[in-house]
C-alpha cells in the first residue's frame, strides 16, 4: 500500500503534485479531545505561492505550527525537499529509519515532524512569520536582520571565540551579513529606517520587516501567517509587490494564510481551503473560487440554504455544471445560461432580501442608489468579501458611513442576514467603517 495518497480533486498533473517542496500527509493534531486538524494532506509546489484559507478556527495556524515545529503533530508526515521531484525512495528511506533527514544527489530531504523548531529553520530552511507580529522591538531594524543570520555568523565567529579575539574572518562575514540585510531592507522599502528600533515602525513596515527578517535566513519555503491582516490598501499593494519579488528573484516557495480573498486570488498559484480541520477544496485560485463547498463554508450556509439563495445556486451551477447540480437536487433557475449567471454574480441589482426569512434585530436603513460620487469599496473592510459586498449592496448599503452608524440591533440583523452572527463585532466592521469614512471625508476636504 502506498503511503502517499492523493486527495486532491484536481488532476494529478498539477505542478504542485509533480514537484512539491513540501508535502503534508495525513496530518492530525489533537489537543485533548479537540481535533484541530483531521487527516490533512496537501502539497506545496516549488517556486509557487500557495494559499491556505478557511474561516476562523479552521486550523490554518495549527498547520503552520506543525510545519514549523512549534507543535508536534499527533499523527502524520511532513516532508521538506530541497531538490526537485518527489524523491520517493529517499523519503521512504528516511521514514523507515530514525533520522530526521537524508541528503540525496538532488537535494536534502527532511522529515519536519521529527525536528525541533529551531532546526527546521536552521537546516530544513523553512522560515515563518507570525499572525501577531513578533519582532525584536527593542533592537534596531538592522539588528533584527542580523539576528536572523545568527547561525552563519556564529560559525564565522568560531562560536564566539574568534569573535572575542577579533579575528578578521568574523569582521568580513559580518560585513557580508550587513550587505545582505541592506539588500532586503531595500526591497522591503525600509532602508531609511535601518537604525530605528523595530518597535517604532508603523504596522505595515513591521509586517514587511518580519518578512525581510525571515528571508535573511535564506529559506527554501517561507510561511506567512496572515501577512495582509490589518494593512491598508496601499500597504497591501506593497506587500504583494514584495512577495511577487521574492518569488521571482529567489528560489523561495511561499505558503501563506490569508483572510483577504483579494490578496489570495491575486497572487496565489494554488489554494487550499480548510474548514474545521478538514480540507474541503484544493486547486487553482479559479477552481477554488467557484467550488460550492468553499462558498458554503465561507458564507456559513447549510446545504438546503444553497437552494434558497439564487446567487449561490448559480455559482454552484457554474461550478458543477447543470447536470451535476440537478443531480444534487438544486433547482436550476429557468433562465440560466453561463453569461447570465456571470452577470448575475457580478451585478449588484438592488434586490430585496427574500420575504419569509425573519432575522432577529432591526434591519438597517438603505438607499436605493449610491450617492453621486459612487459606492465605496466595502471590501476594504476586513471580513467583507465580494459576496458580502454584493449582499450589502442589495440591502441598499453602499457607503462606509452607513456601516459606521449601525446600532447593536442592526448588527444582529445583518449578522443573521449574512449568516455569520457575531463576526461583525469580532472583526469590528463598524469601527473599521468609521475609520474609513473619516479618511474619505478628509480626502474630500483636500
Amino acid at each position: 500500500m502506498s503511503v502517499i495518497t492523493q486527495e486532491t480533486t484536481v488532476d494529478t498533473r498539477s505542478s504542485w503534485d509533480l514537484d512539491p517542496v513540501l508535502t503534508v500527509e495525513h496530518l492530525t493534531m489533537r489537543f485533548g479531545g479537540l481535533v484541530a486538524i483531521d487527516n490533512l494532506s496537501f502539497n506545496v509546489g516549488r517556486g509557487e505561492i500557495t494559499a491556505l484559507i478557511g474561516p476562523n478556527g479552521a486550523g490554518k495556524t495549527t498547520v503552520f505550527n506543525c510545519v514549523t515545529g512549534f507543535y508536534k503533530p499527533t499523527e502524520g508526515r511532513i516532508v521538506m525537499r530541497h531538490g526537485p521531484g518527489r524523491q520517493k525512495e529517499t523519503v521512504d528511506a528516511v521514514t523507515a529509519g530514525d533520522g530526521t533527514w537524508a541528503s540525496s544527489p538532488e537535494g536534502a530531504v527532511f522529515l519536519l515532524e521529527r525536528m525541533p523548531d529551531f532546526e527546521i529553520s536552521k537546516h530544513a530552511k523553512v522560515a515563518r512569520t507570525f499572525q501577531n507580529i513578533r519582532l525584536f522591538g527593542g533592537m534596531t531594524v538592522l539588528e533584527n536582520l542580523l539576528v536572523a543570520q545568527h547561525n552563519k555568523l556564529m560559525l564565522a565567529s568560531n562560536y564566539t571565540i574568534g569573535g572575542v579575539l577579533g579575528l578578521p574572518r568574523y569582521r568580513q562575514e559580518e560585513k557580508e551579513a550587513i550587505d545582505k540585510a541592506v539588500y532586503w531592507l531595500e526591497h522591503a522599502k525600509l532602508i531609511d529606517r535601518a537604525d530605528d528600533p523595530a518597535g517604532d515602525l508603523p504596522y505595515g513596515d513591521q509586517r514587511r520587516l518580519e518578512i525581510a527578517r525571515a528571508m535573511c535566513t535564506q529559506p527554501h519555503l517561507l510561511c506567512l501567517d496572515e501577512p495582509a491582516a490589518g494593512l491598508n490598501p496601499r500597504e497591501s499593494a506593497e506587500l504583494n509587490e514584495l512577495l511577487q519579488y521574492i518569488r521571482r528573484a529567489h528560489d523561495t516557495s511561499i505558503l501563506l494564510i490569508e483572510h483577504d480573498m483579494g490578496v489570495v486570488m491575486e497572487i496565489s498559484d494554488h489554494v487550499i481551503v480548510l474548514d474545521y480541520g478538514v480540507k474541503i477544496s484544493d486547486g487553482s485560485a479559479d477552481f477554488v473560487r467557484t467550488d460550492p463547498r468553499v462558498i458554503a463554508a465561507y458564507l456559513g450556509v447549510e446545504d438546503e440554504e444553497i437552494e434558497d439563495q439564487p446567487e449561490i445556486a448559480s455559482l454552484v451551477v457554474e461550478a458543477l455544471g447543470e447536470e451535476a447540480a440537478e443531480q444534487a437536487g438544486i433547482e436550476v433557475p429557468a433562465n440560466v445560461d453561463p453569461a447570465a449567471v456571470a452577470e448575475l454574480a457580478e451585478s449588484s441589482t438592488a434586490e430585496q432580501p427574500r420575504p419569509g426569512r425573519v432575522h432577529p434585530g432591526v434591519r438597517p436603513g438603505g438607499m436605493s442608489q449610491p450617492r453621486e460620487q459612487g459606492a465605496d469599496r466595502l471590501t476594504i473592510i476586513q471580513g467583507i468579501g465580494p459576496v458580502n459586498e454584493r449582499k450589502l449592496n442589495e440591502l441598499g448599503i453602499w457607503h462606509f458611513d452607513q456601516i459606521g452608524s449601525w446600532t447593536k440591533e442592526e448588527i444582529v440583523w445583518v449578522g443573521s442576514y449574512l449568516a455569520f452572527p457575531g463576526r461583525i463585532e469580532r472583526e469590528n466592521w463598524v469601527g473599521q467603517a468609521q475609520e474609513l469614512a473619516r479618511k474619505n471625508k478628509a480626502g474630500d476636504g483636500e
Binding site: T68, F70, D117, F118, E119, I120, S121, K122, A127, R128, F130, R134, L135, F136, G137, G138, M139, T140, L142, E143, L146, V147, A148, Q149, H150, N151, L153, M154, S157, T160, G163, V164, G166, Y170, E174, I178, V182, A194, D195, D196, P197, G199, D200, R213, A214, T217
Partner: protein
C-alpha cells in the same frame, strides 16, 4: 537662526548643570567630607566651601566651553523626547568617557596615597570593594540585562569562585594565579548545571529556582564540615604574588626588589590593580560579546523567545551560555574575594549579596554597563559613607546612632531613584550594529525578559 541660538543657550545651560551635578555627587565624598584620625576614633570634617567652589568652577567652565568653544548646535526637539535627550548625553563606556574613567581609576590609588595618607588603606579598600561589585554587576548583567533571565542566586557563583580557590589552595597548594582560571571555569560549569533545570521556567518560577540554587550552595558549604570547614570557613588563603614576589618585609620581596621602603599599602594597591584588571577584562569581554552573534541572540531572547526559535536560534544553548558567562565572571570575582580576605566562610554569601548585586544592575539600568558603574559607586560607596555620619548626631541629638538608620536611609534612596527613574539610571539601549547613524533606543521599547 534665533531659535537655534536659544536652543544652544538652553542646552549649554542644561549640560553645564549636569556636569556640575556630577561634580557635586562625586565631590561630596572627596571634597566635602574629610575624615581624620582623632583621639577616640575618626573625626569627620566638612569642607562645604571647597565643595561649592569646585561645583561653581565646573559649571562656569563647562558653560563657557559649550557656548564659545564647542558651539554645538543641538536642535531641541529633534530627539524623541526628554529622556532620549538626556540619555544621549550620558556617555557609554566604550568611547572617550570610558578611557577617562580608566585613567582616573589607574591614578586614583596614587592620589589617595599622596594626598590622604591617613586614610589611604580605608579608601583603597573601599575602591577595591566597589570594583568587585562593578565586576559582579557586569557579570550578572549578562544574565539579567542581556538575556533577560532574572537570577536571584548569583551569589552562588561568587561563592563557588571563592571556595574553589580556597579549597584548591588548602588541599593542593594552588597559588592565586593558578586557581583564578579554574575558579572561573568551575563557576561556569555550575552555571550550566543551574541553567539546565531552569531552561523551561519563566517569570516568577525562574526567579524562585535561582534563589533556591543560591541557598543550596550556601547550605552545602555550611554543612559539609569535613571538606569546607563548615561555619568556621577556610583561613590562610594565600595572597597574590607579583610575578612570584610576595608583599612582605625583608629580602626577596616586592619592596626590597624594587628598592622601595616597605609599606603595607603596596599589597592593597596591588590588589586594587588586580581587581581593576579583572573588571576591565570583564568589561571588554562582555562589551565584545554584545556585538557578536551570541550577544545579539541573548538580547533577541530577551525580546522574543519564540521569534528566536523561528529564526533557527538554539535557545537552550543560548540561555546556557548566558548563565555560564555570567557565572564565570562571578567566579573570578569570588577567587579575588578569597585572596583579598584571606578567609572565606558561608557567612559572606548570603541572599543579601545577591540582592545587592541585582540592585546594582537594576538601579544602573538593565543592560547598561555604564549604569552598573554609577550604581556600584552610589550603592557600595554610599553605604560605606553612611557608616560614619557623625554630623547627624548634631541634628538629632547624641542618642542618635546613624549606623542603625543606615539601611533605612539607603532603602529610601533606592525607592526615590526607582520613582524618579523606574527603568534605572541609564535607560537607553545602545544598538550593537549601525548602518548610518547611531540612535539610542528608549527603554519603553526594550523588553525586560523573564521574571521582571
Amino acid at each position: 537662526m534665533a531659535v537655534v541660538a536659544d536652543n544652544r543657550v538652553a542646552d549649554s545651560l542644561r549640560d553645564a548643570f549636569i556636569a556640575a551635578l556630577l561634580v557635586a555627587v562625586l565631590g561630596f565624598f572627596f571634597l566635602a567630607l574629610r575624615t581624620e584620625i582623632a583621639p577616640g576614633g575618626l573625626a569627620l570634617w566638612t569642607r562645604w566651601g571647597l565643595w561649592f567652589t569646585a561645583i561653581a568652577i565646573v559649571f562656569v567652565v563647562r558653560l563657557g566651553l559649550n557656548l564659545f568653544f564647542y558651539k554645538a548646535n543641538r536642535p531641541a526637539g529633534a530627539g524623541t523626547g526628554r529622556a532620549a535627550k538626556i540619555a544621549s548625553k550620558l556617555p557609554d563606556l566604550s568611547g572617550w568617557t570610558g578611557t577617562i574613567m580608566l585613567i582616573v581609576a589607574i591614578v586614583l590609588p596614587f592620589i589617595v596615597t599622596t594626598f590622604l595618607p591617613a586614610q589611604q588603606r580605608q579608601f583603597i579598600d573601599l575602591m577595591i570593594l566597589i570594583l568587585t561589585y562593578v565586576m559582579l554587576g557586569w557579570g550578572l548583567n549578562v544574565v539579567v540585562g542581556f538575556a533577560g533571565l532574572l537570577d536571584l542566586g548569583f551569589v552562588a557563583f561568587y561563592a563557588i569562585g571563592a571556595y574553589s580557590f580556597a579549597l584548591l589552595a588548602h588541599y593542593l597548594d594552588f597559588s592565586f594565579w593558578m586557581a583564578l582560571p579554574l575558579a572561573g571555569i568551575l563557576a561556569a560549569f555550575w552555571g550550566v548545571i543551574l541553567g539546565f533545570p531552569v531552561l523551561r521556567l519563566r517569570g516568577d518560577y525562574l526567579a524562585i529556582v535561582t534563589l533556591a540554587f543560591g541557598e543550596i550552595i550556601r547550605v552545602v558549604l555550611l554543612n559539609w564540615y569535613d571538606f569546607t570547614g563548615g561555619p568556621n570557613g577556610i583561613s590562610g588563603i594565600p595572597k597574590p604574588t607579583f610575578f612570584g614576589l610576595e608583599f612582605g618585609r625583608g629580602e626577596g620581596n616586592f619592596a626590597a626588589v624594587f628598592g622601595l621602603p616597605y609599606s603595607t599599602i603596596h599589597r592593597f594597591i596591588y590588589l586594587y590593580f588586580i581587581i581593576l584588571g579583572l573588571a576591565v577584562l570583564t568589561f571588554i569581554v562582555t562589551n565584545r560579546l554584545r556585538r557578536l552573534p551570541i550577544g545579539r541572540a541573548w538580547e533577541a531572547l530577551r525580546e522574543d523567545e519564540i521569534a528566536c526559535r523561528s529564526l533557527g536560534i538554539n535557545t537552550t544553548n543560548t540561555k546556557l551560555t548566558a548563565f555560564a558567562i555570567g557565572a564565570m565572571f562571578g567566579g573570578f570575582a569570588g577567587a579575588f574575594f578569597a585572596t583579598r580576605q584571606g578567609f572565606v566562610s558561608p557567612e559572606s554569601f548570603t541572599f543579601i549579596e545577591s540582592a545587592i548585586i541585582l540592585a546594582i544592575v537594576v538601579l544602573g539600568g538593565l543592560g547598561s554597563q555604564f549604569g552598573v558603574v554609577i550604581a556600584s559607586v552610589v550603592m557600595i560607596g554610599g553605604m560605606e559613607m553612611l557608616r560614619n555620619l557623625g554630623f547627624l548626631k548634631g541634628m538629632f541629638g547624641p542618642d542618635f546612632d546613624p549606623v542603625q538608620y543606615r539601611m533605612l536611609i539607603f532603602g529610601l534612596a533606592m525607592v526615590l531613584i526607582m520613582v524618579w527613574k523606574p527603568r534605572g539610571l541609564v535607560t537607553t539601549r545602545e544598538p550593537s550594529a549601525v548602518l548610518k547613524e547611531k540612535k539610542k533606543i528608549g527603554a519603553d521599547l526594550v523588553a525586560q525578559g523573564e521574571g521582571h
